[in-house]
Each structure stands twice: as structure tokens, then as C-alpha cells.
């Protein structure tokens, strides 16, 4: 087996009954329900190698969570081919389930009224992990996250950050080969986010676990993943290295210039879109094709001390992806 995950022309449609407002609407929706098909995935394909850490990004409702749910066997695909660790996820065979894990930032598996160790012990039994291995795994997971002394505290008494760490441990205690993370840092403060990221990065490196992660947090992506898959409206728009995303989607470059004396803004605006002006610095956004011309023009006609041409920051591109601006550009 050379691929951890294979997805080929995957389609998923949801059928929803539309409810109209009011009593008459409620009645008519019972008598003649209006069915509406939502096309969540419109034929996506990608593969993931063992040990790869891939970021899955796109605006809300793009189909990210749907994909993760299909890959972990929670949803049945409408059409297409899916294979995870050579299993068909939907069969939910025990041998398959023992090798995967799905963590959803907004869903908990820890028993609320009990200390986390109780849930962990339960998982040990459910996943049939030998006692020694369990102790070993637990140590390897708790110490980098610094939660050894929280295991015996009632879950409801923990902070969100502490709880998420323990949720993660509960999801990893059986050492899955494939890990799906849906918004792992949602709601966490900056320090907790950073710790979570460091942990995921280390974990991936150490155990060669294939990780597919969705996130709305730019730092998650920039820090963690080398490869991203951009999805919007159920289609894959981009699949490749994070840096490539920029050259692919950034239609513009950034010119930063320092003026030697103040000049008329309107005159500068004839060159290109002014993003920022704060004497002596001017930042311009210029279409890729004409950036050289614009730079030359600037140097010739303005009192310029220094000038640099830069790529649009990755963060800006990702921000655009989250806003769904990529898809519209392609149409």
C-alpha cells in the first residue's frame, strides 16, 4: 500500500426538505415536501501519502467537513471512489476504525462528569490496546502537552484549552495511522493554539501519521502544512505546495517604496492601486504582468530612495480563499 488515502471523483449530494415559515408552510411541507438537492461535493479527486500532513481549506460550506466525514466512514458517498488504508470507510470494519481518528473541534468524546482518565481507559478497552502499550502511549501524549496532572480532574472543571488537549489525547491513544482534524484550534487562545500546533507538527513527524486538517486559522496552515488543498463549492481549486498557492492565485505583486519627500497621492495613484501611504512609505498593489513597468515609472517620475517588489503574503491569499474569492475569479 503506497497511498494512505485515495479519493477519486467523489460526489456527495444531500437531500433536504425545505420548510416554509408559518403554519400553512408547515402543513404544505408535510403534504408535498419540497425536496432540494444540495451538491456538497461535485467530483473531487486527490491522494495522500503515508505520513503526509495536508491542509484542507476553503470558505464555510465548501465541503471540507463533508469530505472528512466520508473519509472516516460517517457519510456514504453518492458517487465516486474512496479508499483509506485500503479500506472502504463506509464498511466501518473494526480493523479500519482502529487505525483512524476524527477530531472535530466542536464535538467532544470525553465524558463530561468524569475525569478524562476514565474515557481514556474506556478507549483502551474499546480499541483493545494492551495495558503496557496504553501506559506508554499515554506518557508520550501527555508529557509534550503538559497535561499529566489533569488526567484525574473532572472534565467539566477544565478550561477549553485543557479540554481540547485531552480530547486530542483521547483521539490518539490508539495511535491511528490516519488522523482527520476538523478545526483543531477553534476557540483556543493564542498560546494554546501554538501549543496545539507544535504538538500536531511533532506528532506527525514522530509517528509518520497521515494528517488531513481543516482550519480557519491561517497560522495553523502557515506553520503546519506544506501542501494545501483548496476547495470551494464542492470542487478542488488548487492542490499543491503552499508557496505555489501564491504564484497561482496572486494576480498582483506588491511594490514598497520610500519617498524622499512628500508627493501628491493622486499622482501616485496613476501608477497603481495604493494600499498604504504613510510618509515616507508607499505600498502599491500592481498586476503581475506590468510590475516591472510600474517600478520603472516610479523610479523615473518620483523622488524615490528605495524600492522593493514582493509577493502578496500567504496570509492574504488564504484570507481570500476563506472568503471564497478564489472561485469567483475562476468563473
Amino acid at each position: 500500500m503506497d497511498r494512505a488515502i485515495i479519493v477519486d471523483h467523489l460526489v456527495k449530494n444531500f437531500e433536504v426538505t425545505e420548510k416554509e415559515s408559518g403554519i400553512s408552510g408547515a402543513i404544505s411541507s408535510i403534504i408535498s415536501p419540497k425536496k432540494k438537492i444540495i451538491r456538497a461535493l461535485r467530483g473531487i479527486s486527490f491522494t495522500i501519502q503515508p505520513g503526509e500532513l495536508v491542509g484542507f481549506i476553503g470558505p464555510n460550506g465548501a465541503g471540507k467537513t463533508t469530505t472528512l466525514k466520508i473519509l472516516s466512514g460517517l457519510l456514504y458517498p453518492t458517487a465516486g471512489f474512496v479508499q483509506v488504508l485500503s479500506f472502504d470507510p463506509w464498511d466501518r470494519k473494526p480493523e479500519f476504525l482502529k487505525q483512524i481518528s476524527l477530531v472535530m473541534g466542536q464535538k467532544n468524546q470525553l465524558w463530561w462528569d468524569l475525569p478524562a482518565i476514565e474515557t481514556l481507559e474506556l478507549n483502551r478497552a474499546i480499541y483493545e490496546i494492551p495495558e503496557k502499550e496504553f501506559e506508554q502511549n499515554l506518557k508520550e501524549l501527555t508529557s509534550p502537552l503538559g497535561v499529566e496532572n489533569l488526567l484525574k480532574v473532572q472534565v467539566r472543571k477544565l478550561s477549553l484549552g485543557q479540554r481540547m488537549k485531552l480530547e486530542l489525547i483521547a483521539a490518539l491513544i490508539h495511535k491511528p495511522k490516519v488522523l482527520f482534524l476538523d478545526e483543531p484550534t477553534i476557540g483556543l487562545d493564542l498560546i494554546a493554539q501554538q501549543k496545539m500546533r507544535d504538538f500536531i507538527y511533532e506528532y506527525n513527524r514522530r509517528y509518520q501519521t497521515s494528517i488531513l486538517l481543516t482550519s480557519h486559522n491561517m497560522d495553523d496552515l502557515v506553520d503546519l502544512v506544506r501542501r494545501v488543498i483548496v476547495i470551494d463549492e464542492g470542487r478542488i481549486l488548487f492542490d499543491g505546495a503552499l508557496e505555489e498557492l501564491v504564484s497561482r492565485f496572486a494576480k498582483e505583486k506588491i511594490i514598497k517604496a520610500s519617498l524622499t519627500k512628500e508627493d501628491d497621492i493622486q499622482r501616485i495613484e496613476t501608477i497603481g492601486k495604493v494600499k498604504k501611504i504613510a510618509f515616507p512609505e508607499v505600498v502599491l498593489s500592481i498586476p503581475r504582468e506590468v510590475v516591472a513597468v510600474a517600478a520603472a515609472e516610479l523610479l523615473q517620475n518620483f523622488p524615490i530612495a528605495d524600492l522593493t517588489i514582493e509577493e502578496v503574503p500567504i496570509e492574504d491569499i488564504i484570507r481570500k480563499v476563506f472568503r471564497g474569492e478564489m472561485a469567483r475569479k475562476k468563473h
Binding site: F14, E15, V16, A40, T65, T66, K69, S72, G73, L74, L75, Y76, R92, P94, L97, K98, I100, S101, L102, M104, K107, N108, Q109, W111, D113, L114, E118, T119, E121, L122, N123, R124, A125, I126, Y127, E128, Q154
Partner: protein, 268 residues
């Protein structure tokens, strides 16, 4: 394999203790109810030779105490939480794990039954010492055997009924279930003879009730124990009970599979 279920049993017990106060209030309620019913019947049968509806004082008081024990064994269950789990979408957690969801909940039910039974036995002992009722001890092997068989069937029957009702949450995930469950629980207790013996009802009502699964939860097993139902009537009852177990098991399977499809369709 067995270890899985032992661990589920354990965590369920630990959780019950996390809600100590709830549990104790629940037991107090049971004991209060017994007190009430006991004194009611005790005054009806103040003359020890009096027979009403085929019960003498010993048998009716045995019935009252029997109900306390049977409630602990049959009606104690945790599977009421299934509906909530479905509507919150927490069911996903279980679908992701190598575990059988029905066995998981059945094990949790067993732990609840064990705990409640432990308390019920202590309560019966205390009440026995306080009230000194003349209890009826069944000695016929065949009746005792019939009692055990019908009791085991009753446990399955209640599990299936409860689980089936909870699956409604697949289609109506609204959180108003708690109130309705309370109603269902009271109805079940009523129809299964938890409040009064069903044979004080008109005979036609009784005949109809006997076709439903409810009397087989508590009333029927107790009648077998008391020796009021014997022979072919006993076997007939066990057969009907078995029939309901099978029907409900098949029904549960069908509804579950449809529900799971529904669950995934809405993508909760």
C-alpha cells in the same frame, strides 16, 4: 472482547456516582411510593382472611415488594440518553469506534440495573424489618423457573422498547423529549402493573393488555412468581413475550438502519 464491556460497565457505575444526589432522590421516590401503596393495601386487607381479586394480604404485600425489586431489574435503564446523543450528533463519536452501539447501551443498562438492584435489596430488607409484612415465598420449581425466564425476557423487552422510542430523535431532533419520556415512563409503569396489579381491571381490558408487550415487563413475571399464572397460561405468556422480543428486535434493526441513513443525510 469481554473487557470492552466490563470497562463500559465500570465507567457507567462511576458516572452514576457523579450524580449521587440524583440517584439517591430517585431511590427515595421509589421507597416513598412503596410506603404509600403498602399502607393502602394494608388497610384494604386489614382483615387477614380477606380475599380481593384473588389476593390475600400476604400476596398483595409480596406484590408491592416484588414491584420494588422488579422495577430495579426491569425498568432501570440508561438508554434514555440515546435520543439526546442522536440529536446532539454525539452518535458520531460511537460510529467512529470499533464498538457495537446496542451492546454498549445494553451494558450501560445492566450497570444501572445492578446498582439499582443493590439499593432495592437493601431497601426491601429495611422495609421488611420496619413493616414486618407476611411475604409469600414461592417454592414450586416450575414457577420459579418460569419467573426467571419471563424476567430475562422482560429485561430485553424493555431495552428494545426504550431504544426504539429513543430512535425517534433521528427524525425529530428537537430537545423537547425529556417531558415526553416522562409521560411514556409513567404510562409504561402503569401498564406494566407498577402502580397496581392489572387483574383488578375489567377482564376485557386485561385481555387486550395481555396482547401488548407492557404487562410482560413486570406484572406477568410477578404473577408467575405468585403462582397466580401457571401451566399452559404461563407458557403462553412466555411465548407472547418472546414474540414481542423478536418483533421489536427486528423493528429496532429496521428503524436503526433507516435512522442512520437519515442521520448521515442531514450530515449532523
Amino acid at each position: 472482547m469481554l473487557e470492552k464491556y466490563l470497562q463500559i460497565f465500570k465507567i457507567s457505575l462511576v458516572q452514576e456516582f457523579a450524580y449521587r444526589l440524583n440517584f439517591i432522590m430517585w431511590r427515595v421516590r421509589n421507597v416513598m411510593q412503596i410506603f404509600l401503596v403498602f399502607f393502602l393495601w394494608n388497610s384494604v386487607f386489614s382483615d387477614p382472611t380477606r380475599m380481593v381479586f384473588g389476593y390475600d394480604r400476604g400476596k398483595i404485600l409480596t406484590y408491592v415488594f416484588g414491584i420494588l425489586i422488579l422495577k430495579a431489574i426491569v425498568l432501570s435503564a440508561r438508554a434514555v440518553d440515546v435520543a439526546g446523543e442522536i440529536s446532539r450528533g454525539d452518535l458520531s463519536n460511537f460510529l467512529l469506534k470499533p464498538i457495537n452501539y446496542f451492546k454498549f447501551w445494553f451494558t450501560r443498562d445492566i450497570s444501572s440495573k445492578a446498582l439499582n438492584l443493590g439499593f432495592a435489596i437493601v431497601e426491601v430488607l429495611i422495609l421488611f424489618i420496619l413493616l414486618k409484612p407476611p411475604l409469600f415465598i414461592q417454592t414450586e420449581i416450575i414457577s420459579l423457573f418460569g419467573f426467571l425466564v419471563s424476567l430475562v425476557l422482560a429485561v430485553f423487552l424493555f431495552f428494545l422498547l426504550l431504544f426504539l422510542i429513543n430512535l425517534v430523535a433521528f427524525w425529530m431532533p428537537e430537545n423537547s423529549w425529556a417531558a415526553q419520556f416522562l409521560f411514556i415512563a409513567i404510562l409504561t409503569e402503569f401498564l406494566s402493573g407498577g402502580v397496581f396489579p392489572l387483574d383488578i381491571l375489567p377482564i376485557t381490558v386485561q385481555r387486550f393488555l395481555y396482547l401488548l408487550p407492557f404487562p410482560y415487563l413486570m406484572f406477568f413475571p410477578l404473577q408467575v412468581y405468585l403462582g397466580k399464572i401457571v401451566g399452559s397460561q404461563m407458557f403462553g405468556g412466555i411465548l407472547i413475550s418472546l414474540f414481542w422480543v423478536l418483533v421489536l428486535a427486528i423493528g429496532l434493526n429496521i428503524v436503526w438502519n433507516k435512522g442512520i441513513k437519515r442521520f448521515e443525510a442531514v450530515g449532523r
